[in-house]
Symmetry: C2
Subunit: 104 residues, 2 copies
């Protein structure tokens, strides 16, 4: 099991466009054979009018290779290009393995 | 649904002690009526000998109030005190709501 947590800060005013793009990416990713889940979470703190919206993408793949394969899909590449100009700062990805968890 | 992601960096040499403490905390937390899941994840990157071990705790509660209640339980307070000296840096918690996800 390979987990990727991606933190995304979206420029003010671009939240709706980003949401559309990430939901489209999620829907396609969930059809990848190596993807187990793809949760779109919204920060419950960064809610100020002047603050960018902050998302956490909680992505689970069977293996690290399945994540690498995800990054080569047409839907991921389209997503990456579509949102490039919406980022308030570069996305941060962190990789994890499971120590102990409920079924993912 | 209220999600809390806690990033923990453990001092070198204290990984085993931390793991025991967090697993004990997880087991008790999973019996709280407001807790839905409590996943212990280990960074797949911070694996150098000189680096602290880095964990992500992915905790899901029915409501924010359930998380507040969690922080007042005996097992949480014991965990907090037990690991206080094991932290390489202060823990960072981030709160999220669900936009779109598989069942949590």
């Amino acid at each position: 099991m390979h987990i990727v947590c991606v933190t995304v800060k979206v420029k003010p005013g671009m939240g709706d466009d980003f949401l559309k793009a990430i939901q489209e990416n999620r829907a396609a990713t969930r059809h990848e054979p190596g993807n187990i889940r793809f949760d779109i979470l919204l920060s419950a703190e960064a809610a100020g009018v002047d603050d960018p919206e902050e998302y956490l993408l909680f992505e689970v793949y069977k293996t690290r290779e399945d994540f690498t394969a995800h990054q080569q899909t047409a839907h991921y590449l389209k997503f990456r290009d579509t949102v490039a100009e919406m980022m308030a700062e570069p996305r941060k990805g962190a990789h994890y393995t499971v120590v102990e968890a409920d079924p993912l």
